[in-house]
Symmetry: C2
Subunit: 134 residues, 2 copies
DNA sequence: GTAAGCAGTATCCCAAAGGATACCACTATA
DNA sequence: TATAGTGGTATCCTTTGGGATACTGCTTAC
């Protein structure tokens, strides 16, 4: 279930392993940890889709275009493990399931902001160079 | 050479493709772009190793412990493409090659800081829960 | 003469990530 | 009675990331 390799201590959602203990600075390790929980093709898109409020599984699958049920299911489990999302089951017929971002997921905001700002200026920079080239 | 898929426009270092145009917000796309240039196992460790000043290939391979020549070579090329590093060849015998971070690479600092800060508190949080569990 | 260091490249291989498709049990609707 | 929608799982397959190993051509040191 957990993605923690042998060397790591057991933990809630998992931390990336040191690829070689204490050789990179611990700050580098922290960066790797953060990058790790956001890695993969779908985590951010799902978080964005959930940022508008609780969503059901099928809704999410429609919102995050291109994702398969398998990947959505898998990524939601990881988001749950990392305590970024919670899963609520309602005893309707048929059962409905809602996913919602946790308060802790808000702690990612500064990262997401930094990534977004940089991404925007980087894209502008690249497109600018393209037009010069053309 | 470039990692740009068919759908994307030609660009300096490459941007991640929209997996489906204009359905996710552009801010989500920007986040993906940023995540993309930092992805992989070695980019950050290499950037960290270079942050102390220019380094030769062999030096880097020793500094970034565990990396193979193949991966180092590949990652350095990508860092060059994204204009995070420059490669300088000196006509010594045998030739020496130096890699150095560019000014543009400094633009990543706010991202790296955000990732580091979050990573540190996340690790503390997880280890805290572990000790409660134990 | 041979080993080691310079900066890589080439080839092969394995494991992880991710996509396609089929399927589960159940119900309301057409 | 068939179809679509509820929330997924199981299986198979391809693609990608990355590691291991060998090798290049040149030079200095042993």
């Amino acid at each position: 279930m957990s993605k923690i390799p042998e060397t790591a201590s057991p933990s809630v959602g998992g931390l990336r392993p040191s690829h070689s203990a204490a050789d990179c600075s611990q700050s580098s390790q922290a960066v790797q940890d953060a990058l790790y929980v956001l890695s993969g093709k779908w985590k951010l898109p799902i978080i964005v889709a959930l940022s508008g409020g609780p969503r059901r599984f099928g809704e999410l699958q429609r919102l995050v275009s291109g994702i398969t049920a398998k990947m959505l299911s898998k990524e939601l489990k990881e988001l749950e493990m990392n305590e970024f999302a919670i899963r609520r089951v309602y005893a309707t017929m048929p059962v409905t399931v809602e996913y919602e971002l946790t308060e802790y997921s808000q702690s990612l905001n500064s990262i997401i902001e930094a990534l977004r700002d940089w991404g925007i200026q980087h894209r502008a920079r690249i497109l600018g160079k393209d037009s010069v080239k053309a």
